[in-house]
Symmetry: C2
Subunit: 378 residues, 2 copies
């Protein structure tokens, strides 16, 4: 499949940003992270795994974005719709793009401040020392971007939703094959490796995220790497993946009972699906993130301590809103979110279920294949 979108998609994103920038009095927005730069350019590469070089995109108040990047990225960036590409030979610690970026900002910003994403989930992907150099060399005023980029990214276009739906289908097919790789006696670490192989086999480009757990009546946490402990009869096995296709993520999990399902596992799984359904029932345009949290928390219990029961999804594994008691973000058509209820099944043990949905005018549409109440036995 060809990555990226038609130029019109990026031009629409640019126009939407520039309209908000005008209202906020921003002369430009400076972007430094992979998803933010890709959002406006379509620049897709795994090379971001290397921390050695900073990358910059300047979104001016008027006109097209300007890429200020290491020369090693020029060939790939020139395949995008971006025409103004300025490069330097990186890494060059003495002046790693600092002068080139400052000069570019001075040229493009005639009025207003330079906005830099500074809010929740953001970070500045460049050395702090160099950022200070850029600020003084540019002689401009820097401020936050008023959350403009994060707000735009929260609502997905039909083309983006198609990409997320495609990777959800890939993961759905891989989960349907877990019985081929996981059974009593297989070490969890082997299950993790083989499940990643299944995801690739079903068409994922790569697998940035895989977590999970296994244990009697639940698992201890959901972020630990796999141990070499073999699956035992009665264990609950959970696999939670963030696989990628064309740069867009899925993020959902599945639970399985090994050899036999304990009553605890059966009850907890049915409860989790019930909570997911309750979340679906209120996942409507106009509802608040906290409303979905409440609907699910009322069923899985735990109150405030239930924590985050879902989140936005797209170019990153998690992005945008959080389904918590405190997040009152209003749901809009085109938002893609996860419903992720968790339930305590014993002391220090839990079970988590997760599905991916998109908010449509007429209600939610499932992107992941909704699991039934009965926990599958493998």
């Amino acid at each position: 499949m060809g990555a990226g979108f038609p130029d019109s998609e990026y031009k629409g994103r640019l126009k939407a940003a520039q309209t908000r920038m005008a209202d906020a009095g921003l002369g430009a927005i400076l972007l430094t992270t992979e998803p933010d730069i890709r959002y406006f350019t379509g620049f897709l590469t795994r090379f971001w795994e290397s921390p050695s070089r900073p990358w910059f995109l300047v979104v001016p108040a008027n006109g097209d974005p300007v890429a200020v990047i290491p020369s090693i990225g020029a060939a790939l960036m020139s395949k995008t719709w971006i025409s103004d590409i300025r490069t330097w030979s990186a890494p060059e610690p003495a002046d790693d793009g600092v002068t080139l970026l400052a000069t570019t900002l001075r040229e493009l910003v005639t009025d207003g401040k330079v906005g830099v994403p500074s809010g929740p989930e953001s970070h500045l992907r460049m050395p702090l020392t160099d950022f200070e150099r850029v600020k003084s060399a540019a002689g401009l005023t820097f401020t936050d971007d008023r959350g403009i980029v994060a707000t735009l990214r929260m609502v997905k276009s039909p083309a983006e939703i198609d990409k997320i739906a495609a990777i959800c289908a890939v993961a759905g097919r891989a989960f349907a094959r877990v019985g081929e790789i996981a059974r009593e006696g297989v070490p969890l670490s082997t299950v993790f490796r083989d499940f990643q192989r299944l995801l690739l086999d079903e068409g994922a480009d790569w697998v940035p995220y895989l977590a999970g757990g296994a244990g009697q009546g639940g698992y201890g946490d959901v972020i630990s790497p796999a141990s070499d402990t073999a699956l035992a009869p009665g264990d609950v096995l959970m696999l939670d993946t963030g696989a990628v296709l064309d740069g867009y993520f899925c993020d959902f999990d599945r639970n399985f009972a090994v050899t036999r399902a304990s009553q605890t596992a059966r009850d907890a799984h049915a409860r989790l699906i019930e909570a997911t359904q309750a979340g679906l029932d209120v996942a409507r345009v106009g509802a608040r993130a906290s409303d979905l949290w409440r609907a699910m928390a009322d069923i899985v219990g735990g109150g405030e301590s239930a924590g985050r029961l879902g989140h936005g999804l797209g170019m990153q594994l998690t992005e945008g809103l959080s389904l918590t008691a405190r997040d009152h973000t209003i749901l809009h058509e085109g938002m893609v979110i996860t419903l992720e209820p968790g339930i305590e099944t014993g002391k220090g043990k839990l079970m988590v279920h997760e599905e991916n949905i998109v908010i449509r005018a007429d209600g939610p549409r499932l992107l992941s294949p909704l699991a039934g109440p009965d926990i599958p036995v493998i």
Copy 2:
């Protein structure tokens, strides 16, 4: 395999850092990124893929590090040697660990400044707005960490070298099987998927990085995602992987000729191996990074424009020194680096070869299986 190291490894790292902190007058070092926090704790999880929560580790001038992290990470952090673990329910945009971190810093820093990694390859993994809040709430002076953490990480311990050697062996076995998955007529995107499956099959925990290219007499660049174009007779196929085992990377590539090897490909490959050998010949304790660059650049040509011909390697795909004309870092025993000569094979076309080595007192030791001068035909 069990991830991590004995506590003595981490205590040694802490002692080395605190000795340098005393000389630099630092009352603490504040860490926010995955490799820096893992370096002092052994905290290993793929959960960093989610940008929604900041994570902090405070390394005080005296005493053990203190983890200030989201409660979702408490169970896993408690499995490390870190005993002082302070948590909050994240994400909480109104106060996402800001107060807890500021309070912790005020308690631990009785004298001196707070050092934050701010130099080459570093970034601050937290929202800029929250960093400003922490600084004012802590009422302390913040500065860079004088490169202390990066400098320590540049020299690997025997235990770290063993882990890098293990993942290099995994990738070596996978490269030896490329003939099983790549041949004339197979789309490059399929080769990329299947090679990641081979890496997992041979024992990689996951595959954070895979790049490559294919074309007649070379490829256009080395960071693009795979196209669906089928391999053609006479193509040169290059696969470059950063796979991970126990949290440590390998980073080397291999070139293959599809069906038949063109004279251009044969000559370029032999030249690349010659350059690699020239780099090996000068890769001795006391040599400078720029000496290795010069030895290889003299053979592949291109002079300054030859760019970076290798780099440090370890907890990240690339870290530490760069083999460039400008980097005069002195090689020390225990440094793990890549030798990565590239050669122009035509207009806009190149070929790159890469090996991984460790600097020993008696000379370099290869961690990747050194390729021969003849490009293998598949």
